[in-house]
């Protein structure tokens, strides 16, 4: 139902561009286009000026949900009148809440209220009661100043991690692809490890290519790293001519979409090989690669053979394997092709014109930091940690994960949670010494004459004082004796 209404809502604009209405349905729609009609009504009545956008779009979608399939101008107009009134009433009743409650929440409330009011017809009194509950429950949910949110976040992520599986190499939707999940993945993320154990990309294609198997295969071929070895049937060293004789595998060449010329060109791009690659005159599948002076010694010649076999003929560096997957795309209502890769190279993949850069993703946080910046890295950390926890069926509020990600990226670079990152860079000597490598911390601190101003948790615990959060954050104190004597309380 909702799919249909969405389609009809967009088809309004597309309609004029289309050449000929082919199906019966489209012919009928041409008579009364509900989407257009409602848009016109909204325009005529100045709904957008009077109501917030959520309510307007809610009015629109409610009508289209009911009449999208059987357009009847009269009924639509009548229904529109009713709904516009309801919207007006809800808007008026909710007005006072908008000053207190964040917009995102208000919008959700308005949307749900429209739906409910339409189905059950709400009285003004009921709407007002609901509004009061909304305001109250928001105010009641606010965090209290002094709350040690850091500790709570750490516990909220650490505690469930004891229930995680240890080493399950699961399949990311496809059998062929391994991906690190569970506790090892979580540790890898908070460690801010330079390279994930199993880097993986999920590459989406642009509108024009995503439904086209051929185009998808073409992109896959371009991505997959192919070395000379992969298309070689045999490679022998010819000591007399001082060259390596490479016999190419015809089937593999075809499979990878390569010609002999491609191979020659790729090899010739290498500086040490320029001008040294020849195609055998008698057999077009055989190449002779002349050994350069630097490798001409008998002991080095075999190494040279290895070297040229490793030469990249095509593909993107770091991408070892590409797997094509057919997925249901709910926005288009049909299947699309998605590429999953083993290995990751965000910069080069995003540069491909066929790739939809908005949806394409990698699980390598550092790469995201390099290519898209620190804010993207923060979001990537949040997504990856949340997905890792959720995949294990563990529920952790996103606010805790956000705090961890914020702390990790706060300095402008991704820092790990641990000795070589946040903990190691703590300002307090005592806190660092209490964590790891105690003696070194103390020696270094004394050499540079560090001063520990005792503000954090560990430091104060060590010397037996209260930590300055929660109930100890309050600095205002009263002296009852002084008050009794009539003096000012300090």
């Amino acid at each position: 139902m909702s799919e249909k209404s969405e389609k009809s809502s967009t088809s309004g604009k597309r309609h004029s561009r289309r050449k000929k209405p082919s199906s019966v349905e489209e012919v009928r729609r041409a008579v009364v286009e509900p989407g257009e009609l409602v848009d016109r009504l909204i325009e005529e009545q100045g709904l957008r000026q009077r109501l917030p956008p959520v309510l307007v779009s809610s009015v629109r979608s409610l009508i289209l949900k009911k009449y999208g399939a059987r357009p009847d101008e009269l009924e639509i107009r009548r229904e529109f009148e009713i709904l516009a009134k309801v919207a007006q009433r809800i808007h008026a009743a909710m007005e006072p809440a908008q000053k207190i409650v964040p917009k995102a929440i208000v919008d959700e409330v308005l949307f749900k209220l429209m739906d409910t009011a339409y189905r059950y017809s709400l009285t003004d009194e009921e709407i007002a009661r609901i509004r009061e509950d909304v305001v109250q429950s928001y105010l009641r949910a606010l965090v209290e100043p002094g709350e040690p949110v850091g500790t709570v976040a750490a516990q909220s992520i650490g505690e469930p991690s004891t229930q995680m599986t240890l080493r399950t190499f699961h399949f990311a939707g496809v059998r062929e692809l391994n991906v690190t999940l569970g506790l090892p993945r979580l540790i890898e993320l908070v460690d801010a490890k330079q390279k994930p154990e199993t880097p993986i990309m999920e590459i989406y294609l642009t509108e024009e290519h995503k439904h086209d198997l051929k185009a998808a295969l073409e992109v896959a071929r371009r991505l997959e790293h192919t070395s000379l070895e992969a298309v070689t049937a045999s490679a022998e060293v010819d000591l007399i001519t001082e060259s390596v004789i490479v016999r190419l595998d015809k089937d593999m060449l075809e499979d990878k979409g390569l010609t002999v010329e491609d191979v020659v060109n790729a090899l010739s791009r290498e500086r040490s090989l320029a001008g040294r690659v020849r195609v055998d005159e008698s057999d077009p599948l055989v190449l002779a690669v002349e050994v350069p002076k630097a490798y001409s010694h008998i002991t080095k010649i075999l190494r040279f053979r290895e070297l040229i076999l490793k030469t990249r003929i095509k593909g993107v560096r770091g991408i070892r394997k590409v797997i094509l997957q057919r997925r249901y795309d709910p926005s288009a209502g049909k299947h699309e092709y998605v590429l999953l890769t083993e290995g990751s190279n965000l910069a080069e993949v995003l540069a491909l014109p066929q790739v939809d850069h908005r949806r394409t993703r990698t699980n390598d946080v550092h790469e995201i930091e390099r290519v898209l910046g620190i804010e993207a890295a923060r979001q990537a950390l949040i997504n990856e940690i949340m997905n890792t926890l959720r995949e294990q069926g563990l529920e952790v509020d996103v606010r805790h994960v956000m705090l961890v990600a914020d702390l990790m990226t706060w300095s402008g670079i991704v820092r790990q949670i641990g000795r070589h990152g946040i903990v190691g860079e703590k300002r307090s000597v005592l806190a660092r010494a209490a964590f790891e490598i105690t003696a070194k911390q103390l020696f270094d601190a004394s050499a540079s004459g560090e001063f520990d101003s005792l503000r954090g948790v560990t430091e104060n615990l060590v010397i037996g004082q209260l930590m300055p959060f929660g109930t100890s954050m309050v600095e205002l104190k009263t002296s009852p004796q002084q008050l009794a004597r009539g003096g000012d309380a300090k």
């Binding site: 959700e108 059950y120 516990q155 529920e395 914020d406 050499a447 004459g449």
Partner: protein
Amino acid sequence: MSKPEKVVKGVKFGVLSPEMIRRMSVTAIVTPEVYDENGIPIEGGVMDPRLGVIEPGQRCATCGNTLAQCPGHFGHLELAKPVIHIGYVKHIYMLLKATCRSCNRVKIPEEDVVKYRDLYRRLRERWPQLASSMVEFIRQRASKALECPHCKARQFRVRLEKPATFIEEGGRGKLYPDVIKQWLSNIPSSDLEVLGLDPEVARPEWMIINVLPIPPIAVRPSIVLETGMRAEDDLTHKLVDIIRANEKLKEALNSGAPEIIVEDLWELLQYHVMTFIDNELPGVPVAKRRSGMPLKTLAQRLKGKEGRFRGNLSGKRVDFSARTVISPDPNLDVNEVGVPYEVAMTLTVPEHVTPWNIDRMREYVLNGPYKWPGANYVVDPSGRRLDLRYVKDRKALAEGLKPGYVVERHLVNGDVVLFNRQPSLHRMSIMAHRVRVLPGKTFRLHLAVCPPYNADFDGDEMNLHVPQTVEARAEAEELLLVEKQILSPRYGGPIIGGIQDYISGGYLLTLKTTILTKDQVSDLLATIDYSGEIPEPAILSPVEAWTGKQVFSLLLPEDFNFIGETKLSSGSLKCTSEECFWDTLLIVKKGKILAGTVDKTVIGSQQPKSLMHYLIMEKGVKFGAEFMNKAFKLFLRYIEMVGLTMTLDDIGPKRSALESAVKVIKNSYSEVDKLIEMYRAGQLEPVPGRTLSETLEIRILDVLARARDESGATVVEYMSLANPVYVMARTGARGSGLNITQMSVVLGQQSVRGERIWRGYRGRVLPHYRHGDLSPEARGFVASSFYKGLSPLEVFFHAAGGREGLVDTAVRTSQSGYMQRRLINALQDLYVEYDMSVRSPYGELVQFRYGEDSVDPRKTAFGKAVDIDRIIVKNMGWRMSL
């Protein structure tokens, strides 16, 4: 309250200068001899009495205090030749590389030094991280210079030969500590600053030791063994070694011994001083006791989990605590803890005597330490502590009590205590409970608090702590009380709630078919101290009768509406409307259950957005705790009335069901055979990216997993809703469909590392199979059920699979424990400011608004600050349908 305590504002770190060491020393230590022939410490030895008292009753020769007050005093030892302080080898090495060998200035042009110093001073406070990377840059730049920019002298490479020998290649060769000390002392203080040192408190020449501080005896007490022998501390042994080596070196120098002898003795002194500081240096022989045990010297005392920092400073042992085994008590309230008399009579609470409690206090004193409720100590207004065990006339003492006295009384009912179970992974691992003193020797707790503690009763022990001040008690009650911890901050939802029998009981009570007589209703309501009216009976004739739903509804507030699916509502039992036959849609209108049963998704623990959760959110945690107390007692009482158990027959499958299950398994076997045949014939289509044999394994695992699920489903389908095992699984009380399948139909494939079991003999797991047998049973498929019993071979496979689980758990706990420790250490200083921002204690902004919306997850409905769906249901639920 006592007078305001002094507050430590900060701790400054630095290196002791030789002058300072001499100044704080009370005596020079001059002899390696420790005791004379009478066992009296020798003056000038390492146990010199001026270093502090060690025996009770004695007075200190230096400060005149007794053992309790004397802080201990340092001595000092003048070394015959300076040695390198091993803790500062890296700093010394850096300085030798970064400064000129002839003029001893930092090898950076003067104008740059000035520039760097200004920048460094500005960065140091606000951007310590930047400052330290700048220092690193300066050090590297200075070290690279081949010629001194100040005196133009040519530089040589200095090499560090571990652990503490410096060699100037091509220059003077080996650099002796006295030469280095000279070099370092010539570096101007202004140059040291840009190299990251603080010359005020840490001149580099002080890092070469020529005066060694001798720690007070209190730091290294000697102990007297049962044999009467005196055993000295490791540090004392080490000090004696140092003094002896020093004496020998001094002698050699005085007698003009050959250079090579002197050098050897100097090395020895260096070794002893080094290991005195750190006895785990790489490449240095470990100093050992006669028994071969490595000595625990200074660094070892500080390091590690048991070291000073983690073992004594950030984790301390405390008084007023108790530990014993825990056991359940369904008659307690959720907020309570059962405490044995013995514990209650040992732990005390200091209570100030006031006009309002004086009678009670007198009674406690009169009862004394051996009769509960009594008291163990009385503190009089002068601060004198009277031990009631030795007070002869307690009556007189009781009479004499008046305001100003403090009575350290026994724990009594209602006292607030902290209760803890390790590992303390989240804040609900320590909660405050109200004491209920009970006979027996275990701590007792309400079953609903098992989930937050992660406790069971298979021998678990827990700790109990008694807060000693009013402030501590107030915080415990207001913040830590069990009822204040019902909602978990991890995901907005109740972590305390119904488990196991509470759920089965709730289900049985609210079942459509539960009809209760007046006697039964009275019995049930009596167990929860219900004092209101009994509602109109649902059935009037032939006898008045009530439904279970009616009884349960008495606990719900009258304005409470709720609609929600129950756990049962799935598959063929799914309900979407009030009229549904299966009664699996719970509808509460105005405090009355109209339809549906109570089960895990309604009252269970860790079930967000449940009836229980909304009750607690809307009516408050106090109501929530009270609701649990009553509802759970009600459910248990009902179970006691009707009985709930399981017998072997309950998991025995019906013959017809078993037959179809066996057929499913048989079919899967032949399917597997077919796959194996195809594989052998090379006809198997490989999964892309996998080898042929991997493909075969994947396909077989698929087939067998499907077979188990299918055969399980066929049997479960035949089970009756009256079967208690089935009821427990369906309501979420305990167990799952898989558990039932394994008990009554088939155990299924056992696996190790996600593969069928194949390790063992060559080509087979056990000698009972043929080489290369790939059939299900040869690779760990257990076709028997627990009901039927496993064959010996099946037991083997089951054990192999089971062991992996055990190993996994053991490894996992250590890994996740370490990760959590790091997370806590990194995050623990962050808090919410009054402006709702998240800050570090240094005022650094980490988040502008906590969680981007300043909302506390604990107070949300599964993350939502405003649960609009719920608000709508709450306000008009009585005229809604799902």
